[in-house]
C-alpha cells in the first residue's frame, strides 16, 4: 500500500501497485476501476480462449457479430488433425433477434452447421446480450443434442460476469458437466496423465508430451491444446493431472479430484528449473517404477547439456539487463522471472491481470526487494514504471508491444501471439534467442531516449551524435550490448 507518491496512478488503484519500497501488502482480485484503460478482457474471452483449441469441435458464438469476429483464429493453437476451431461461426444476432429472442435462430444454426461440418461436438458460447434477453441456451443445446446425437455444450460465458477468470471457470464447468466421464476409460493404463492448461501454441504441447512419453508416461487428454472431444470424455481415467496456467484450469483439476479422486500437481514448462521440476515431480508421483525417474534424469541431463552452450553465448550479451513482465495469469510470471535469471537478466517490474494474493506474495519473495509489482495495470502505469525502472525488455501481449516499442524498449511476446515455442528445454533457447534478438537490436540505439543517459532525469542530454560506446553502456544500460554491466 505504498504507491502513493508517484503521479499517474488512480487513488483507487494504489493498493494494486507495489512500487518496490516499504512494507509489502497488495490488493488484487478486484473488479477493474470504471474508466481505467485496463488491459483486461471479459468472461467470454476467458471461456473462448480455454475451449478454442479443441479442434474437432464446432465453436458457435451466439450473439452479435463482434464477439465471433474478434476471436476468429486469434491464436496459434496448433492441431495435428482437424482445424474446425480456426473458423468463425456466429448467429450474427440482429435487432429483431434481440427483440423476439434468438433461440430459434440458435437451434437452426446448430442444426445447419452440424449437417455441414459433421463435428464431434458443438460449444455454444453465450455473449452479454444473450444473458440480458434471457435466451435459454441450455434448453436449446439439450434439444439439439438429443436431435443430433453429438454433445452440444452450452458455455455460460456472458461477458459481464467478470474478468477472464470467470470465463475460465465457465469453460471448465462446461467440460466437467457435459463431457468428462461420458467416454470409456477401461483401456487406460496406470502411468497416465492429462496435460491441463497448455494450448499448444507453436506446438508446445507436443514437446511436453514427448518428454513424458520418453519417460514411459502416456498422455490421455490435452486441455486443450490439440484437444479432441473424445479425449475429454475419457480423461477421468488418467492417474494424474498436470496443471499449467493455473488460473484457467485449476477448477477443472479440482472437480476431477473431487469426483474421480484424481490428484493434480501444478507445473510450469518454462525455464530449466521449472521444466525439470515438472518432469521430476511426475516421476516421483509414479514411484512404483523407478525407471521413470531414471529416464527423467537422463532427459534433463541430456537436454540441459545440449542447450547450455547456446544459452551461455546468449547470456554474455544479456547479463545485467532489466526486464518488465506483464501477463494474463500470474503463474507464468514466476517462470519468466526464473528464466530471465538463467539468461542473466533481472525482473524489475512484474504483474498480471488476474493474480491472487498468494501469487503476489510468492512473486514478491521471488523478485528482488525493490521490484515493482502490478495487478490489473494500464498503459499509463506501465509506461511510468518502464521509464522509472529503466528496463531493457518488456515481456507482454498484443496491447503492450507497441507501448514498449514507442518507449524504445525491446519486447518479447509471451502471450498467445507468440510464433515460436517457448516451453520445454528447446523453448528456453528460443526464448533466449528472441530476447537476444530484440534486446540487442541496433534500432534501440536510434531511439532518442537512449541517446542520452537514462537516469537520473536531471542529467545533461548528450548530443544526438554521441554514439553508444562501451564506456557509456554501464551508465545508460543501453541495449547496444557492447558494454559490460
Amino acid at each position: 500500500m505504498n504507491a502513493g507518491s508517484g503521479i499517474g496512478i488512480l487513488d483507487k488503484r494504489k493498493a494494486q501497485v507495489h512500487d518496490g519500497s516499504g512494507a509489502f501488502a497488495m490488493a488484487c482480485e478486484k473488479a477493474s476501476v470504471a474508466g481505467a484503460v485496463s488491459q483486461r478482457a471479459c468472461s467470454f474471452c476467458g471461456s473462448r480462449v480455454v475451449l478454442y483449441p479443441i479442434a474437432d469441435a464446432l465453436h458457435l458464438v451466439h450473439g452479435p457479430i463482434g464477439c465471433a469476429a474478434y476471436t476468429w483464429d486469434i491464436r496459434g493453437a496448433l492441431s495435428s488433425g482437424p482445424s474446425l476451431h480456426r473458423l468463425s461461426f456466429s448467429t450474427d444476432m440482429q435487432e429483431k433477434d434481440v427483440v423476439y429472442g434468438g433461440e430459434k435462430k440458435l437451434y437452426q444454426a446448430v442444426t445447419e452447421l452440424v449437417a455441414q461440418y459433421k463435428p464431434n461436438g458443438v460449444f455454444v458460447y453465450a455473449t452479454c446480450i444473450v444473458g440480458v434477453i434471457g435466451d435459454d441456451i441450455k434448453a436449446v443445446c439439450k434439444r439439439a443434442q438429443s436431435a443430433l446425437g453429438i454433445p452440444v455444450i452450452p458455455v455460460d460465458s456472458e461477458g459481464f460476469k467478470g474478468s477472464k477468470k470467470a470465463g475460465y471457470h465457465a469453460a471448465c464447468d462446461s467440460l466437467m458437466n457435459h463431457l468428462v466421464g461420458t467416454g470409456n476409460s477401461d483401456d487406460i493404463g496406470p502411468h497416465t496423465i492429462n496435460i491441463l492448461g497448455d494450448f499448444n501454441l507453436a506446438g508446445e504441447i507436443w514437446m511436453i508430451e514427448e518428454y513424458y512419453r520418453r519417460m514411459g508416461i502416456e498422455t490421455v487428454c490435452r486441455i486443450t491444446g490439440d484437444g479432441r472431444i473424445d479425449d475429454v470424455r475419457r480423461m477421468h481415467g488418467a492417474a494424474l493431472n498436470l496443471v499449467q496456467c493455473s488460473g484457467s484450469v485449476t477448477r477443472l483439476a479440482e472437480a476431477l479430484k473431487e469426483k474421480y479422486g484424481i490428484p493434480y500437481m501444478r507445473v510450469s514448462y518454462f525455464g530449466i528449473e521449472d521444466m525439470s521440476k515438472a518432469l521430476y515431480d511426475v516421476a516421483a508421483f509414479f514411484d512404483d517404477d523407478p525407471e521413470i525417474m531414471r529416464r527423467a534424469q537422463a532427459i534433463v541431463a541430456g537436454e540441459v547439456s545440449r542447450i547450455m552452450p547456446e544459452l551461455r553465448r546468449l547470456r554474455a550479451d544479456l547479463e545485467g539487463k532489466r526486464a518488465a513482465i506483464y501477463t494474463g495469469g500470474a503463474f507464468k510470471v514466476f517462470s519468466l522471472v526464473r528464466s530471465l535469471r538463467t539468461i542473466g537478466m533481472r525482473a524489475v517490474v512484474a504483474g498480471s491481470q488476474t493474480g491472487t494474493r498468494e501469487d503476489y506474495e510468492q512473486l514478491h519473495d521471488l523478485c528482488e526487494e525493490d521490484a515493482v509489482l502490478l495487478d490489473d495495470t494500464n498503459p499509463t502505469e506501465l509506461a511510468k514504471f518502464i521509464l522509472e525502472k529503466d528496463v531493457d525488455l518488456f515481456i507482454g501481449g498484443v496491447k503492450e508491444r507497441p507501448l514498449a516499442y514507442k518507449l524504445g524498449v525491446a519486447f518479447c511476446d509471451h502471450n498467445h501471439e507468440r510464433k515460436i515455442a517457448l516451453a520445454g528445454f528447446e523453448g528456453l533457447v528460443n526464448f533466449a534467442r528472441e530476447v537476444h534478438a530484440s534486446v540487442t537490436s541496433p534500432v534501440w540505439k536510434l531511439v532518442p531516449r537512449r541517446q542520452r543517459p537514462a537516469l537520473p532525469p536531471s542529467a545533461v542530454p548528450l548530443p544526438l551524435s554521441a554514439a553508444c560506446s562501451p564506456a557509456m553502456c554501464g551508465g545508460c544500460k543501453s541495449a547496444c550490448g557492447k558494454g559490460a554491466a
Binding site: 474471452c45 474478434y70 450474427d92 498484443v398
Partner: protein, 460 residues
Amino acid sequence: MLLRHTPEKITERNAVTINPAKTCQPIGAMYAALGIHGCLPHSHGSQGCCSYHRSTLTRHFKDPIMAGTSSFTEGSSVFGGQANLLAALANMFTIYDPDMVAVHTTCLSETIGDDVNQIVRKAFDDGRIPEGKKVIFCNTPSYIGSHVTGFSNMVMGIVKGLAGTEGEAVDQINIIPGWVEPSDMREIKRIAADMGIRAVVFPDTSDVVDTPQTGEFKMYPDGGTTVAAMATIGSSRKTLALGTWASEAGARQLDIKCKVPFETLDLPIGLSATDRFIEALSAAAGMPVPEAFVAERGRLVDVIADMSQYLYGKKVALFGDPDQLIPLTEFLLDLNMLPQHIVSGTPGKTFERRIREITEGRVPNLNVKNGPQADMFLLHQWIKNDPVDLLIGNTYGKYIARDEDIPFVRFGFPILDRVGHSYFPTIGYTGGIRLLEKILGVIMDKQDRDAPEPSFELVM
C-alpha cells in the same frame, strides 16, 4: 487446406454467419473518436469489448490504442450502467486528463436501456466533468449494421458535440474522409493544400495511430482534428462527405445543425472516383485544378496503359466495406479487369444497386451480396464455382487465397499481417498507382512462378 470443408454447392442460410466480412459497431466508433485531438474513446459495456477493439486496432496499426471501459459487472447489467459511466467519466478526467471523452455504447448497454445522453448530462450537472472539458457520445448497438455504421454514428456524435459556427462564413470546406487509413487522411490534406484550399478534415487519425518513435509514450498524440478547428466547421462553405456509409450521416447532421450544404462522393479510390473528388473539391472551393494534378493523373493513366496487357480480362473477387468496394469496382473496370464476386457484411440496400449501375452488365454472371450471411464462406463458394485471378480484401482473405492459390492484395480493414497501409495511401491518383502496383505485383509474381522454364522471361 484450412477451408477444405467449404462445399461448392450453395444452399440458403439464414441463421448462421460463417467467417464474417464485417465486425460490430463499437470498434468503428472507437476509431473515429481517435481522429479528434486529445480525445479518449470510452466503451460503455463489458471490459472485453474494449479489449477486443483495442487489440484489433493495435494489430492493424501497430501503435498503442487508448480507450476506457465502463467495466460492466453482473450488477450493472441488472441495475443499469449509470453508476459505472459516472464513475468512469470522473476517473478518466482525473487520471488521464483528456481534452474530451467520446462515449460509445455496446449491445449490452443498449439492450438494458442505458440513456447515455441523460447520464452524460447528469455527469455535467453533478460537477464530475472539469471546467472546459467535453464529453461527446453516440449509440452503437452491435446488432445493427456493422463496424462502418459505428464509425458513421461517432462522426455524427462528433458533429453534434463539437461543430460550431464562427458567426460569419469562413472560406474553407469540410472533408469527412470516411473510414480510411491515416495515410489516406494525410493524402487528402495534402491534395487540398496543394490546391490552395483551406480544409477541415475530420476525423483525422494521421499522427494519432501512425506516430513516430520518439522514446516517449504519448497518451494523446499530436494528430487529430482540433476542437478549435471543429468549432469552425459550421461556418464552412460546404462539406464533402467521402463515402455514403461512413460519412454522409455526419455531413447531413452538420447541414441540419449549422446549414452547411453537403455533397456525398465516393471515396477517391482509382481514376474515375478521384476525378470526381478533385472536380468537386475545385468547385466547392472555387479554386482551379493545378497543373501538378493533371500530371499526377497522367502518371496513373500512363501506368495503366503500360501494363494493360497484364490486366485485361482478369477476374477479381473483392470483399470489405461498401465505401471502398464501390469505387474499387469502378477502378477495376477502368483497368479492364472483371470484378466478378463482391461481398460486404455491411448492410445497405443501395450497395447492390450501385455495383450493378457501375458494372452496367459488363461483367457476365456478376455475383454481389451484402448484409447478414454475405460472408467469406459465401465468397469462397462463389470462387469455387467461378474461379478468379485475383482476390482483394482484408487479411481474412488469406485463407481463401492460399486454399485456391489466388494472388491476393491486402486492402481494407483489418490488415493484421502486413505493414504499409498506415504510411502509403491508396486514395487519389498516387494511391491509385500504389494499388495498381500491388495488383500487378501479385499477378506477375504468380505468372513468374508458374511459367515453364522456356517461357520464364526477364523482361515483362
